[in-house]
Amino acid sequence: MSSTPVAGPLAAEKAPTPAAASRWSGTQESIHFALRNRKLVFGLSVTLVMLLFALIGPWIAQHPPLEYGGDLYWAPTTRNGHWFGTTMLGQDVFAQFATGLRLLFIVGALAGGIAASIGMVVGFTAGYRGGFVDDMLNMLTNVVLVIPTFALLLVIAAYLQVRGIMTEAIFIGLTSWPWAARALRAQTFSLVSRDFVDMARMSGRNSRQIIFKEIAPNMSSYLFMMFILLFGGAVLIAATLDFIGLGPSNTISLGMMMQLSVQNAALQLHMWWWFIPPGLAIMLIVGSLYVMNVGLDEVFNPKLREL
């Protein structure tokens, strides 16, 4: 490779005076901007409120979620503790909703975590090693990317008698990592060519140490945001799978609530309390996660900030 062209000589000296004059450390500055960023504050608040609901809800529900009761078709009322009303079969919608919400967070975190981990391993390795290893991992990523997940899930569903949360989460995690791997690979590429990686090599560090101590911390904001996106994506995929009936077979989730409500003609029967809460919850959580992400991008990337 030819030597780098003689760079603009004063690029190095253009350390802008404002940064040198900054009174704050990097973290303090980030927190200052974080609190001022409306998107971040809004997104975070909504997510936290829903999380709180998910934690406390199942505890305060008056009835078990799947129990068939005698109060059918009830609209939301304070009688018998059916604050969100009941379903066709007398099940308490509030209890179902609270359980489903908790499940949503669990699946999101688990699936998002699995996808993020695989994405990190594949992305870092491909980006750092380059060459043949990179080509091979790229092929693997592309193959997983084009697998028709829906068809695959149908096949799996046909073989498994009982599907639980874990199965769903693992499945989503194993099929949604490719784009994360791609993005991380690109980021790693750009960092690997920086001189501080060479400096670390010349200080006696090995590859593993360099990836985790030099490169990954530089991407920490990126990794964080990526996890949020994977979380949101996993929630949506889970809801879709549940809605078409491929969800867990031993519990109730928000997507399943919507599926059941459609199957039982809730819309025509004006049983709005059955399908609006779950739909609204999914929309709010995923939406606020994405809004939060945009806000985070502004916080982490100084160039996007308004002065």
């Binding site: 003689v6 760079a7 603009g8």
Partner: protein
């Protein structure tokens, strides 16, 4: 007078306050003059060059005037400047080579530019081709993508494009920094050729490299920390400078012929002042061997000799 700048002040807005990047500069560039604008980083030369053509989002116009051929340049108003850019004043920006859109052919870029300024690409094509040949480029370059050209070729292409409408003033911002020595010579000579052929009336060449300026510029203007230090002909600046900063700068430049063992050159101790809260008076005084209490008052930029301006109490 081609270009007249009067007490121009441009600051940068930051969280911590205003950075006084350009703090009241007054000078003129005559018709046919190639003026080199030199100084170290943070001296304000790029700010000066950019303020005459386009403010970027962080720059704030504070005061002063710029006049070209008697007409005032409305530098504070981006939209009003549209009528002047490219026709009256034009720029070859820093990193021009990477300023070419990599996914478009050069010819398409030029066509867009011409259309945006109300010209017909087809009509201008013969002149464009002629100029490309003059700078040593094959007109087939118009059909190529930027990545097919070498650094020097891209630089010359951008220079031809920037001067297509024969502006009165061309600002060349660090155009030779990223080039090899042999290409630097070609590009420098091309620049002088533009002036000689009348494609531009006067040139402002912004660079940190005084030796290039010595080769191509008629006069050199030295800036320091947002103020002007000295202006004189190239020969005078190099061989008989009068401002202490210029003297120290010249004596810190190694040349082919000077060796460490024989004559150790010295740098200038200290660093330029921060411009967030600049010191009063002469901004060089804390590094100047001739500093005195008088220097706490800003020295005026006055003519001490024919065409030779200095801002130093010791020299006036």
């Amino acid at each position: 007078m081609s270009l007249l700048v009067d007490d121009l002040k441009v600051y940068y807005r930051t969280l911590a306050g205003d950075v006084h990047a350009l703090d009241g500069v007054t000078f003129s560039v005559a018709d046919g003059e190639i003026m080199g604008l030199a100084g170290e980083s943070g001296c304000g030369k790029s700010t000066l060059g950019n303020s005459l053509i386009r403010f970027d989002a962080r720059m704030r116009y504070v005061g002063g005037h710029a006049t070209i051929d008697g007409t005032e340049l409305p530098v504070w108003d981006t939209d009003a400047m549209n009528g002047f850019r490219f026709r009256t004043v034009s720029i070859v920006p820093q990193y021009a080579m990477s300023a070419l859109n990599p996914t478009r052919r050069i010819g398409d870029l030029v066509a867009d530019l011409l259309k945006a300024h109300g010209m017909h690409p087809k009509k201008e094509l013969p002149e464009l081709r002629r100029r490309l040949e003059l700078v040593g480029l094959d007109p087939a370059v118009l059909g190529m993508f930027p990545m097919e050209l070498s650094g020097g070729m891209k630089q010359r292409t951008v220079m031809v494009i920037s001067t297509l409408m024969n502006p009165s003033v061309l600002i060349a911002d660090e155009i030779t920094s990223a080039l090899d020595v042999s290409t630097q010579k070609a590009v420098g000579e091309t620049l002088v050729g533009f002036r000689d052929r009348g494609f531009v009336k006067s040139l402002i060449v912004i660079t940190h490299d005084l030796s290039i300026l010595y080769q191509i510029a008629d006069t050199i203007l030295i800036m320091y920390a947002g103020h002007l230090a000295e202006k004189a002909s190239g020969e005078t600046i190099i061989s008989s400078p009068r401002h202490p900063y210029t003297k120290a700068l010249i004596s810190s430049l190694p040349e082919v012929g000077i060796r460490y063992a024989e004559k150790k050159l010295t740098g200038i101790p200290g660093t330029p002042p921060g411009l967030l809260d600049p010191p009063a008076g002469c901004r060089f005084h804390d590094r100047c061997p001739l500093a005195s209490p008088k220097c706490l008052e800003k020295p005026p930029f006055v003519e001490v000799d024919d065409g030779h301006f200095v801002a130093c109490w010791e020299e006036t």
